[in-house]
């Protein structure tokens, strides 16, 4: 807040000098900010003391963990989980949204830890995949109950870990439906963080699904087309709606389109020069689109895909540098020509 105040003071002085704001209003505008919140020494020391007490308790329990009866160990874990949830409920009742979100995220982690510790405490043989899915479902329930984006992101991570703990090529992937639900919640709660997590989870789940099938390249190609179509929709939505969820999803879908297309190059789907040239064109288009839409993530994805396409072409040509030089020169002429044509059109308009 103090940093913003300094910037506002400098801006006000400039606006007054330019005649945009009357000088009599300067003090009233600055007074409307209020005093920045400051932590006094006593409160700061109290926080430090409580944090150290917490560390002391954790260290004491950890050092005596194996000496505690099993039921007591389990009870301590359940008490930690219940305590985090009770604190979250209290924060919700008091209207502290950030504290509620943080405490529910903590509770999601503690629940996952509780599930992981139950097996060694009681010597119960548990399938790690089932344990991770159950932890993800628990985190999802906490997220839905309290509108916690943090707990929802934790749920996606746990379910993704459950998918990864199984060998690729066996079993169903739960990440796809979970990520779809996460994206819907991100839209409802207008959460950019959850939108990021859900988008990454959607792409990871799609990749896992493709790798687990016998037609990975074909599915990858289809996924690339689907990402392009959905990206167009997300772009349209982002341009009309305030809020960042659509913009975040738009960026990741372009990454997905570029990545899936790059990975789908094979003789069955689209091999050889055609695939590489289209990939190069997509990458270049992504760079241009990112600059046009002022979306840094799309520009970055285009640049990475560009490097990937160039590397793939050089690899295909077996480092035949003369042929590579001719090919890149031809692509360069195409790109420069397209840029000149766009510039000419904008100038005449």
């Amino acid at each position: 807040m103090a940093g913003y105040r300094d910037r506002l003071e400098a801006d006000l002085d400039r606006w007054i000098a330019d005649g945009l704001v009357e000088s009599e209003r300067r003090d009233a505008i600055l007074a409307s900010l209020g005093e920045p919140r400051r932590l006094d020494a006593a409160t700061a020391l109290a926080f430090v003391g409580l944090a150290l007490l917490g560390l002391a308790v954790v260290a004491f329990v950890a050092s005596n963990w194996n000496g505690l009866p099993r039921v007591l160990r389990f009870g301590l874990i359940l008490a930690a989980f219940a305590g985090a949830c009770a604190a979250a409920a209290r924060a919700s009742h008091a209207g502290h949204g950030a504290a509620r979100n943080g405490l529910l995220t903590l509770a999601a982690f503690v629940f996952a830890g509780a599930l992981g510790l139950v097996a060694p405490i009681f010597d119960i043989a548990v399938d790690p995949r089932v344990s991770l899915y159950a932890a993800g479902a628990g985190a999802g329930l906490l997220a839905a109950s309290g509108g916690s984006t943090g707990a929802a992101a934790v749920a996606l991570v746990l379910i993704g870990a459950g998918d990864l703990s199984d060998e690729v090529g066996t079993g169903w992937t739960w990440l796809l439906p979970a990520a779809t639900l996460g994206a819907a919640l991100a839209w409802r709660w207008r959460s950019a963080v959850l939108a990021q997590a859900a988008s990454i989870a959607l792409l990871a789940g799609s990749a896992r699904f493709a790798l687990a099938s016998d037609a990975a390249e074909e599915i990858g190609f289809a996924a690339s087309l689907l990402c392009l179509v959905l990206a167009a929709g997300a772009r349209w939505t982002a341009q009309r709606e305030e809020g960042v969820v659509a913009a975040v999803v738009y960026g990741w879908l372009i990454w997905g389109a570029l990545g899936f297309f790059g990975a789908s190059g094979s003789e069955q789907v689209m091999g050889g020069a055609a695939h590489r040239l289209i990939w190069l064109a997509m990458a270049s288009g992504a760079v241009a689109l990112g600059r046009n839409d002022r979306h840094g993530m799309i520009t970055a994805g285009g640049v990475l895909a560009f490097f990937g396409a160039v590397s793939a072409i050089l690899f295909d040509l077996g480092l035949d540098l003369m042929t590579a030089a001719g090919l890149f020169a031809a692509c360069s002429v195409a790109a420069l020509g397209a840029g000149w044509a766009l510039h000419a059109r904008r100038t005449t308009a």
Binding site: L78, A89, I124, L142
Partner: protein
């Protein structure tokens, strides 16, 4: 009328707590209700006992000289190209105070024909003059607390002197799963109690 947010949070917490506690109690009941069998332990990681680390167990052992591998167990262990089986059911038969592998099969009914008691898992046997049998019923390690670890360590040291056999005491439930209850070292037992 939908409950307010604090009550929804408390409701979710209560449900998850009861679900977790219920799962543990259900496991405990299944452990208590199952049939106790003693399975021979081939290797036990005694070095991890007093370090507080999980203690690895390998079940199985050498068969008497001249004997043949039980039906369905011929082959190597998991991960080998000559792996005996990818999991299923193992038939057990009682021999004095320990239970031995009587055979292995993919299905429960098939395994039941090989021995009086069946358990989920897999067994493999490398043939030879003295065949080596390996057994995996989901009990590959245990986590003793301090008193249990000291008791097991003491008994293992004494058993090396009088060559007492080490048995893993498992409870085989109606679902066919094996749940570890403790160890028998020589004539003494160390139970992994929950209280």
């Amino acid at each position: 009328m939908t409950p307010s947010e604090p009550w929804r949070i408390l409701g979710a917490a209560t449900f998850l707590t009861l679900a977790l506690a219920g799962a543990v109690l259900r496991e405990g009941q299944a452990r208590a209700d199952g049939r106790e069998v003693g399975l021979p332990v081939r290797e036990i990681d005694a070095g991890a006992l007093l370090a507080g680390d999980p203690v690895a167990l390998e079940l199985g052992g050498y068969l008497p000289e001249g004997s043949s591998c039980p039906p369905g167990t011929e082959g190597d262990g998991p991960g080998s190209p000559f792996e005996a089986s990818r999991g299923g059911w193992v038939a057990l038969a009682s021999l004095d105070r320990e239970w031995r592998v009587a055979g292995a099969a993919a299905g429960r009914d098939e395994a039941s024909r090989l021995g009086p008691l069946v358990v989920r898992g897999r067994a493999w046997c490398r043939g030879g003059v003295r065949p080596l049998l390996g057994l995996d019923v989901g009990v590959s390690q245990f986590h003793p607390d301090r008193q249990e670890a000291e008791a097991v360590d003491r008994l293992l040291r004494n058993s090396r002197a009088d060559r007492g056999a080490v048995l893993a005491l498992v409870s085989v439930g109606k679902d066919g799963r094996a749940r570890l209850k403790g160890l028998a070292i020589g004539a003494r037992r160390v139970e992994l109690d929950w209280f």
